[in-house]
């Protein structure tokens, strides 16, 4: 009865003002989780941007996942993802969730969140500072633009012939 796309667009606008976060630890070391909580404490106060940590995935707009997704946590994480109502964002927080961390290839992890769920935003860092998490959320809200970009260097051999050897 509603135009889904219109609503999604409208929501994008509203996400700028109100973003409720459900935080899931999929086998992380705690570092990211503590920094996520830290982002809500006085010095960083994520709540001033309309962020809120909620206790139930049904209330959430964002699934903020840390950890490399261990084999044991995977089924639960998928259930969690399904419990978050649309439209939703998935944010991978910390090196483990982004790229799998030191244990990206071990027998008991999935090697990163993007291997198992569609991820919208990545916040690298080990752990990311609270400011980095705020920045990531700000990128997700569309308040700021991302800063990083790939770097590819190509040596120009024509300049330096190796004849002197």
């Amino acid at each position: 009865m509603f135009d889904q796309e219109k609503i999604a667009a409208l929501l994008k606008k509203h996400f700028k003002r109100s973003l409720w976060v459900y935080h899931a630890n999929a086998g992380s070391c705690n570092g990211c989780d503590i920094e996520e909580v830290n982002a809500f404490t006085p010095y960083y106060d994520a709540e001033r941007f309309g962020l809120k940590l909620v206790g139930s995935p049904r209330h959430a707009d964002v699934l903020l996942v840390s950890g490399p997704v261990t084999r044991q946590a995977l089924p639960r994480l998928k259930e969690l993802y399904d419990a978050v109502p649309n439209p939703k964002l998935v944010i991978a927080c910390g090196s483990c969730a982004v790229g799998g961390g030191v244990w990206f290839d071990t027998y008991h992890t999935m090697g990163g969140l993007d291997k198992v769920l569609p991820v919208d935003f990545f916040i690298p860092g080990c752990p990311p500072r609270p400011e980095a998490i705020l920045w990531g959320i700000a990128v997700a809200m569309g308040l700021v633009d991302k800063k990083v970009e790939p770097y590819n260097y190509q040596e120009n051999t024509a300049d330096k012939p190796m004849d002197n050897i």
Binding site: D45, E131, P150, Y153, M162
Partner: protein, 176 residues
């Protein structure tokens, strides 16, 4: 009981508002902060020392026919700065950036592609040209002094060197 509550209230209010303006104002990092890895292709020799010490094994040395690529994918970087510590020329460093959020994991890839030097004997690429140049520059004066081991040794791949040295010891042919 009420007294203790008033004391608590006073304690809380005394601290005042401490919220930092970030991200509306730029965030500051302490000196020596280990942020994002940066690769300076102009300096890189392609020695691969960084790849050997990286705990998350996220620095790769990819050898192709004529090129060697040093690839840093810092998506799983642990920001330990071991690469910076071992880099002989300071081409990989950790700067103070921490605002790394992105939508695309490819944004986190850094690479430097360097040309390979070919073995003068067998033609196989065996190290980067820069590595060779660096070694020559560093050691040339010494060779000139002791007048042994001509620099040509360095333009020959280790395999050939072994073979040639073996045959030299047997009284065989000279180096090309």
């Amino acid at each position: 009981m009420w007294l203790s509550k008033f004391k608590e209230l006073k304690l809380c209010l005394k601290a005042g508002r401490v919220t930092l303006p970030y991200p509306l104002a730029p965030g500051e990092t302490m000196k020596g902060f280990r942020g994002r890895p940066v690769l300076n292709g102009d300096l890189c020799l392609g020695c691969g020392a960084c790849a050997a010490v990286c705990p998350p094994r996220t620095i790769f040395v990819i050898d192709e026919q004529d090129t060697r690529t040093i690839q840093v994918d810092y998506s799983r970087c642990t920001y330990c700065a071991r690469c910076e510590e071992v880099c002989p020329v300071g081409s990989i460093t950790l700067n103070n950036e921490f605002e790394l959020a992105t939508t695309n994991k490819n944004d986190m890839k850094l690479s430097a592609t360097l040309s390979m030097a070919k073995c003068k004997n067998c033609g196989t690429p065996f190290t980067t040209q820069r590595m060779l140049a660096k070694l020559t520059d560093d050691y040339y004066p010494e060779w000139m002094q002791v007048k042994v081991d001509p620099p040509e040794w360095f333009s020959i791949c280790p395999d050939c060197r072994k073979k040639l040295e073996a045959s030299r010891l047997k009284g065989g042919s000279k180096i090309v």
